[in-house]
Amino acid sequence: MMMNRARSFAVATGVFALALVGGAAAWAQARTDLVIGMSLEPPHLDPTAGAAAAIKEVTYANLFESLVRVDSSGALVPGLAEGWTVADDGKTYRFTLRPNAKFHDGAPGDAAAVKFSLDRARGAESVNGQKGYFASIASVETPDPRSVVVTLSRPDGLFLFHMAAGDAAIVSPTSAATNKQKPIGTGPFTFDRWAAGDRVVLTRNPAYDGPKPALERVSFRFISDAAAQIAALKAGDVDAFVQFNAFEALPEFRNDAKFAVTVGTTEGETLLSTNNARKPFDDVRVRRAMAHAIDRKTLIDGVLYGNGVPIGSHFPPHRAGYVDLTGLYPYDLAKAKALLAEAGYPNGFDATLRLPPPPYARRGGELVAALLAEVGIRLTIEPMEWASWLDKVFKGKDYDLTMIAHTEPLDIDVYARDSYYFNYRSAAFVRLEEELNRTQDPAARNALYGQQQRLLADDAVNGFLFMLPAVTVQNAKISGLWVNRPIQANDVTGVTWK
């Protein structure tokens, strides 16, 4: 009897406890919606027809898939292609597609769509912002609906990497023309609506043939004003803000348990870009003097409030192949002055520093000017808006100095371009680049990257300043947001709420 009573009490307690746990579980049911804040609104949503990073930051891996995909660690993983093989000569790539991939409108995500997308990107009518990525393709064949054979005219060590870019998104021949306003891809989210000027909303794709994301609804909200970004986070209007650049507000968020702040890596080498064709910057001694006069720590503290990593050449420290060259030109004013005197400028000189709109450039430019003033280089600062900067500085090469982050991944090859705005011409560098294009072996490639970095640092082509950090301020209950930005993307397919 006693036993029975005790047992029934235990059972009752157990049931009660279960009910409590069940209730608590129901209460704590994880949220399935997410609002992400971004600074810039995409002009449209077709990643194959524009270079604006914001386009890919909404669409990459969420709406559109490329053959290959870059994951949060920067590794190449299967995308629309579940596998691939590379022939020994490095010129033939065979991709095998997922068997049941479908576009959001029901069109098949098959080899024909891949051939259409690649041919469109490299065709005469192409308006792809990275048409160069497709330049090595000689032909695209489709032996069967699930196989695509891409033949290259020359080995291209970065081919797979480029096929993983948002610019290489696979689009359907039936919807490619309208993707700007109504994007239709093969990804795990479908486009719901775009309240222009405010937000883009995506919903989970019930017909997705791969693992389904935990989130049902994702909104990207566009808030350009720094004070408004902070307010939106604090008011809970956005759950996370990516590429947050009001660094001065970070301590406040770090001290608040409701928020989590992550600082990761980007591919953005921030440079004091230098017109190597213009006097006095055509003299390597002048460029080296400037390198000695710029204290990177002051810059990183002043511009990024300490959240940045210095660089000594044009290569991100987190990538294999990186060589640390930050010690090549230590901060040394006497040395800088001596080099300037040797070059014939014992009293320094005057020059102009043209600055594009991002805060790191505007703030950094002021500091660079102050640092260079110490050795007699007197800079006149000229703020510019993007359109003017692109037109005058980048295209027209009409500048002395400018400050800008080069955010394309693995873009050291720009120094091999004759017409690039640095006006840097080095036969040695071009030879290294040609060798890189012929080389498949990762170790050999990294060694070549190392030689390129040394050459650029020796020539002090530009002021190599720091890597732009990837700062995310988010609700502490979110997990799965990318910390690093190996590619322009806000891949939310792995995001969950605690």
């Binding site: 524009g50 270079a51 005469a124 912002g129 160069g132 222009a196 000027g197 909200r221 939106a232 394309e408």
Partner: protein
Amino acid sequence: MLAFALRRSLTLALTAWLATIVVFAVLELVPGDPALLMLGVNAQADTLAALRAQMGLDHPPVERYLRWVGGLLRGDLGVSLTYARPVADLVAERLVVTLPLALLSLGLSTAAAIPLGLLAAARRGRGGDWAVLGFAQIGVALPSFWIAILLILVFSVTLGWFPAGGFPGWEAGALPALRALTLPALALAIPEAAILARVTRTAILDTLGEDHIRTARAKGVSRTAVLLRHALPNALLPVATVLGLQLSFLVAGAVVVENVFTLPGLGRLLYQAIGQRDLIVVQGVVVLLAVFVVLVNALVDIACAAADPRPKVAS
């Protein structure tokens, strides 16, 4: 009246035409290539050429101007270079935010300013007057973007009564939409109300010194009745004129405030379009705004003529 209407229409047409020339010429002269902006730093020469052709930028400026104005005359504002959508649609979409915002702030500022102006005039030189003048001084001095940030800090971040920015759209219901517009409208209304209150006060004080007021007082009409029935209607004329001017300033102020509150209004559209060198959108919006300002001024003139309590004397 007919001559007046004709004269006004002619001014309108002339202003609109001048606006098309000025905005087109300015955008031609300002550096910046919409195709380069779209395709970015790795764009190749052939893709740039293809995009420029797609955008219709490969034709000489005069031809592009004539084609654009020809379209305007047919009521066609053209297609946005960046959004690839008709400008008329974009403008319509944004007007449903900016117009209610402007009207709301106009209503708020008028509702606050006229009683305040009356109060100040009635209590000239006393506490109430000083308080109103003080508010006006501060209100004029504070830029609306700063007021906007302050309002966000107090009412969204601290109190949580209003969203910190953004717009849910009218389809989400009138209440959420109005909630989203309240703080921006206030931020716009406060400086406007400050100016209007001063104008009202001065206008009433001016009329209070006139003969008909003295006559009314002499006939035994009470102070309050004189103020409300005799001084206010006369004072409303300069107030209405200023109000018309304010409406133009409201549109300009909306550009700033819409950016602080990330409201998808006409101001933000214009701001983004300039940044992206979306020439067609900038041209269309600027011409529309010019026409709007001329129209409002004409309406104010007509309203003033109609509301003038003084007997009309044929000249």
